[in-house]
Symmetry: C2
């Protein structure tokens, strides 16, 4: 064998070893996911203390695996190898991303990782109690502790970045405040007048039809049918019940979504499931053979949210979807929907109404909820706002943005679990997801000219295949911005979201 | 400080460090329990492959923790310390047991531990397929592999013991074939004639009353009420549905039991839950502050089974229990039980009938099922019987013992999950548990003279408190034989089980 071939073969072996190690860390990480899923769906009331011990123990083992110096040495060797320079593009990107990940994890002290894991479990339990009693005092010390820990985490893991960007980068690699803030501002400048027009309209959608009696058992069959129909594979997933719907992946063939049920409001479960199943389709669409490696992992939370929002809003709140779905709904709920029709149903789903609770917000005002949190959490991380002042500032800014004021902290600053769980820098990914979703859907419609006709016939396979090709197949080899630009042949912009909102909400509110 | 005090204080610190380390291993072990529970209750059909990767990854981490040389050094130091000689009895016992555990684990190669964990998951999946199709061929190669692995495990971990004893010792520390075999033989010599008398009787119990319609939703309320009443704490536990009922502890405040339901046979769920809740009461009765240490862990599977069998059979099939329970049952199932009464219900539960399936067997013939498996598995481990010959030998011996012959392997050798899961040496603990249960109940009745009256009034607190004092509080500081002898002031014997069976099943079958 020539020296060149020898070195190439040892590079390949090194690359395989690095991948094995990363996969092993992902296997352990997937056990953490199970601990989290179980905590939110199954854990007995008094099991919380031990669960936080389990989470902390496992977090430190995962961290140890992720920062194993032997892996660091292998990666360093690879980075200098010809594979990193001349290998296939996917291999080069994998090496670059694993190097970045390793360096980030290696900068985090194990003690901090363990404390964060334990504090997240305990603070979320405090949050649940605080919200139940609408008592800010219960949560406040935990948020103080959590924001201090997060600031420390940000400073450790990315000393080269602004502390808020350092945290946001965990959820949206490459996202920077300097870019996101003006993008959001442009969106805001167009959403605020749209909300005002909708609210002022004399032809507002009537959603009484959605508030009839929809027996839970029938809803369960209905939403399972719809989730299956859009492509969610129940052989590789489950649907359970929680107060706060979520999607969690326990393994490449084990994606679990949850929803809540409201007997007197059909959209709660229906759109909860469309949303979470959208996340699930992304997870189930990732390349199984690359589990635990960048090519088999989600690109970012913004891209993840684009998949859920696309199915929930771009599909689920479209006239075409209801052409197909309405007869099915009427068959499942013959009493409630006897006198309804597809157009009335679809229009009923488009009522715009400023409201207090983010997760109950309509699609248009939703983004204002996100922007509020985005600015607050950045100020908290930078120390420009004190946790103690948060409830008052929240209520004041909320009243300013929405024209209404929370009557209690449970309806205000206590409504979200995110900050207690250590998810800081996470909120902006929701509105990024909305923008990506609209942009992807516009491009899918351009490339699949018959798409509306297919959806109106309950055929979702071409759309899903397009998403798999354009988004899922790339894993996280690209960051969200280049990924969207490659899929859509256009720069990321708020333009498509505003078009989609105006095209659906305008007519529903009788706007010109 | 004097030299003596200094050394005492460093011994204490060393003991604390050893305990911390053992607790940490137990925390990781409890995550393994969650993986197992989830696999049996929640896992999507296609999630099995990844679950076996998770189980193997975690098993090797747990093994690493349990065999950490630093812990070995600390234990060795402790064993030579004055604490091990003159410390409090519980401390001395803890040191001795941790030393034994450590040595056993340290003798197991990590590769074997990982292979066992992975094979157990895969073989159990093969077992499920084999049983569903009644196809021995599907299971056979997995059992060949598993018995080879188990023989290797036995030889590694206890080279000082007979290979079967080495495995049995995992489940029933201190149990030896030489002692158990003659004990079982004495029991068999008395059970066989009792079965013959019962079967030959002209006054057999009529169980038609149990085969009426018992709606599942009502059964769910009924069994939860009974489980709560005997003391199972649902704040620290759950009840779920599986084909094969089990009890699994995920943490000191997280004990999960399962049952199955049969709309047309009340005992399935009722006695399933009494049994599993009995296990659960033991787990919930262990000292929380000693979690992960011998003082807070179950003594053995035989002792564990004694707790489940005591509640299931000694309590649940007694006239006193039905005095209390029947009115509740009649209130829950007014249609099915309109014309019934407590005495008829209790008698209906005592029908003796040789049958093919262990888990459906009556209390008397049950032990014959166990003895069959006990002898077969020992011969398999010692190489006296080949896996390939197992189905034929099973059927032949079964026909000999029971006078009936399985019509398919699903009704024969494929019925139990144990061997595919690597549980070899486990079966005898069921019959040991039956004996311990009867002996404990006899002693409880002697020490609590009003016990029957209490049970007839639905008061179970004194009995539970006696079990907590006499059994639960000791953890595994004592092996099962001395534990029973201490609790009952008498040698372990089959005598009490035979008395209990004769006292209940004799009258029910009109025997003299």
């Amino acid at each position: 064998m020539s020296a060149d071939l020898l070195s190439a073969s040892s590079d390949d072996a090194m690359f395989a070893a690095v991948c094995d190690h990363a996969r092993q860390a992902a296997v352990l990480g997937s056990i953490e996911s199970l601990l989290g899923w179980d905590e939110r769906t199954m854990l007995p009331v008094q099991g919380g203390t031990h669960r936080s011990d389990q989470a902390a123990a496992l977090a430190s083992l995962v961290h140890k695996q992720r920062t194993d110096p032997a892996q660091g040495d292998r990666i360093a060797t690879l980075v200098g190898s010809s594979l990193a320079k001349n290998g296939p593009p996917a291999v080069r990107a994998t090496i670059r991303i694993l190097q970045k990940d390793f360096a980030k994890h290696a900068r985090l002290p194990v003690q901090l990782v363990q404390t964060l894991a334990k504090t997240a479990v305990e603070a979320q339990q405090a949050w649940a109690a605080a919200r139940a009693e609408s008592s800010w005092q219960i949560l406040e010390p935990w948020l103080v502790k959590m924001f201090a820990l997060k600031a420390e985490q940000g400073a450790c893991q990315r000393p080269d970045l602004d502390p808020y960007d350092a945290l946001m980068d965990d959820y949206e690699p490459g996202a920077r405040w300097q870019v996101i803030a003006p993008l959001f501002q442009r969106l805001r400048d167009q959403i605020v007048p749209l909300v005002q027009e909708c609210v002022a309209s004399s032809q507002r959608p009537n959603d009484a039809i959605l508030k009839r009696l929809f027996p839970i058992a029938d809803q369960q069959r209905f939403v399972r049918e719809i989730a299956s129909r859009i492509g969610f594979d129940f052989q590789r997933g489950r649907l359970d019940t929680t107060d706060h719907p979520f999607c969690s992946t326990i393994g490449p063939d084990d994606c679990r979504i949850t929803t809540r049920w409201d007997e007197k409001f059909l959209p709660t479960a229906l759109f909860g499931v469309l949303h979470e199943a959208g996340h699930g389709l992304y997870e189930q669409g990732l390349a199984r053979q690359w589990f635990g490696l960048p090519q088999g992992e989600a690109a970012s939370l913004g891209i993840h949210e684009s998949q859920s929002r696309l199915w929930e809003n771009m599909v689920g709140r479209s006239p075409a979807f209801w052409e197909w779905c309405f007869p099915l709904a009427q068959q499942m709920f013959p009493l409630a929907l006897a006198d309804a029709n597809a157009a009335a149903m679809q229009r009923a789903l488009l009522a715009v109404r400023p409201s207090l609770i983010r997760v109950e917000a309509d699609e248009v005002t939703y983004n204002l909820h996100i922007m509020l949190r985005f600015s607050l959490e950045r100020e908290l991380v930078l120390g420009e706002l004190r946790v103690a002042d948060l409830p008052a500032v929240w209520n004041e800014r909320f009243a300013n943005d929405f024209g209404i004021r929370p009557s209690s902290d449970a309806e205000g600053v206590l409504q979200d679990i995110h900050w207690s769980g250590g998810l800081v820098g996470y909120f902006p990914t929701y509105t990024l997801g909305n923008m990506f979703a609209a942009q992807l859907m516009a491009e899918a419609q351009r490339q699949l000219p018959d798409l509306d006709g297919q959806i109106a016939n309950g055929r979702f396979g071409d759309l899903l295949a397009w998403l798999q090709r354009s988004v899922h197949a790339h894993g996280r080899l690209l960051e969200s911005e280049p990924l969207i630009e490659q899929a859509c042949q256009a720069r990321v912009s708020e333009r498509w979201l505003m078009e989609s909102l105006r095209n659906r909400y305008g007519p529903a509110h009788g706007l010109a």
